[in-house]
């Protein structure tokens, strides 16, 4: 009869031998996972530390938001004094506008928001602010005082509905008017307002707006001004270094960013630094 005992022993040895490569692969992947998780954890801690200044900014921005919303409303009043009617008129014009346009433009703005989200969380709400306030800055605050109490209600409504489908339609005519207006006009209005109250959120907004328009010198200047007022705003440092890169001052951009990272440990700044160094951001 067959000596199964001996055969079993040989089989066991064979099995152990054949598992060696798998075991090494498993072991090394475990090591990699541990290293990666440690690395990720350390990143999280950094994020938490950078969050606190942002919260401050957020408050300021919210204040600005309310103000801009007010101007938004007053603008409507100025053009067609009874506000309710104005909105109704806008609604009817919207129905004539092909719906696809509304959807496309909304989709674009969402995409942009997402992209900026990845870069840095603080940029996200700055963008939001941009959307809601952009077209309405050109009017001066003189009108603002006229009928504040009346307008506030409507403003609140508008704000809540901003992200729902129905408001897409409502907002559409306003967006069309934005495109017709000169962006420089918008900025000028905000500059005036900024000169009055020196709010860093406004100067940051201006910097970003100039950056978007490709006027990198002005963008850089306004970002610098913002940094002087409040040196803890990630987004402002990011705009200033991005502008530097666009102005072919890559080395200076890297230096500035490194200095800022040393002080703030900002992860969005780190990401940008990596992108600049690797040439991904040009």
């Amino acid at each position: 009869m067959l000596n199964t005992r001996d055969l079993e022993e040989r089989w066991l040895k064979y099995k152990i031998k054949s598992y060696i490569p798998y075991a090494t692969i498993a072991l090394s992947s475990i090591v990699i996972i541990i290293v990666v998780s440690i690395f990720l954890n350390s990143n999280k801690v950094e994020k938490k530390t950078t969050l606190s200044p942002e919260i401050k900014v957020e408050k300021e921005v919210q204040q600005v938001k309310i103000k801009t919303i007010l101007t938004k409303a007053t603008e409507a009043i100025e053009k067609t004094p009874p506000t309710k009617e104005a909105i109704q008129i806008q609604k009817t014009t919207v129905e004539e506008v092909p719906k696809t346009i509304a959807i496309v433009s909304q989709g674009n703005s969402i995409k942009r928001q997402e992209a900026s989200l990845k870069l840095s969380p603080s940029l996200d709400f700055m963008k939001k602010m941009q959307h809601s306030s952009l077209p309405y800055y050109q009017e001066e605050s003189a009108i603002e005082q006229e009928s504040r109490s009346q307008i506030v209600e409507e403003v609140e409504e508008l704000e809540i509905e901003e992200n729902t489908d129905t408001t897409v339609v409502e907002e559409e005519p306003k967006k069309i008017t934005i495109q017709r207006r000169d962006s420089a006009d918008d900025i000028r209005g905000i500059i005036k307002r900024f000169k009055k109250n020196n709010n860093p959120a406004l100067s940051l907004f201006i910097a970003k707006k100039y950056y978007e328009l490709g006027e990198y010198h002005k963008a850089y200047n306004y970002a610098l001004i913002t940094n002087e007022i409040n040196s803890d705003i990630d987004a402002s440092w990011i705009v200033s270094t991005k502008s530097l890169v666009k102005l072919n001052q890559k080395d200076m951009a890297i230096q500035t960013l490194k200095q800022y990272i040393e002080d703030s440990h900002s992860s969005s700044a780190k990401i940008l630094l990596d992108e600049i160094i690797s040439g991904k951001f040009r």
Binding site: M1, L2, T4, L7, E8, R10, W11, Y14, K15
Partner: protein
Amino acid sequence: MSSSIYINSKNVFLDTVNSKDYIQLDRVSTIYQALKDSIKKPLKMILLYGKPGTGKSMFLTKLYHDLSSSQIVHIYQTPILDESEFYKILAQDIFSTKYSGELNFTQFMKIVANSDISSIPVVLLDEAQLYSDALMEKIRLISDTRTIKFVITLHKTEKEDLIAKEHFQTRIWETIELENASNAELKIYIQKKLMKANCFDSANMFTTKSVNKIFKLTNGNYRDTNKLLYALFDIYSAYDTNHQLSSVGTTHVSNKLIEMSAIHTGLINA
């Protein structure tokens, strides 16, 4: 299961060539049909080749068995290496002419020429790689007379390539290659083989998964598969007598035992 079933199953995989054990496999049966057809063509000689253990001898034996009822057919499973001996045996078997002394090619050709056999006899030569080149050339010349039809099998070895060049790549040769079984064919082969011997329970143990495992080890070679399964059932019957069967189960073939058999037969180096 009683222990005898494992012993019966084991014996199914003894490496023997017997036409009654022949298993009809789709690919093989089409080749078989082609072969039977070409036997009717007078001029052609048929060369059956393939790697060792692909079933050439089995094929030839089956052919012999099937043809013998309808025509004159002779099979030579072990080669007759001496030339004179070769002619003498053929003269006796085909033409019933007994020769006591030496018989050379010219004398044999005379016998062939004087043949009064109405139908062409078929001669099946297995293991033809063992014949000398000179004798192979004579066989071709005999074949040219159209009085004897030859079916020849040979191993596909490096040496065989040379033989193939010299002898078989002329128009008179019809060559047929036999190959290893595919995954699916191997499963049919194993199961049919066991069922022929009434080992139904054993046949059911071979799931697609375990056949795949066997295929990986034997590459579908019939002889290697036979060896492996012989060892496998040997181990099963040993486990049975040692009351160890519960540790490996009997519903399907244990991978462990397949690997043990592979180690035992040398398919796995351990």
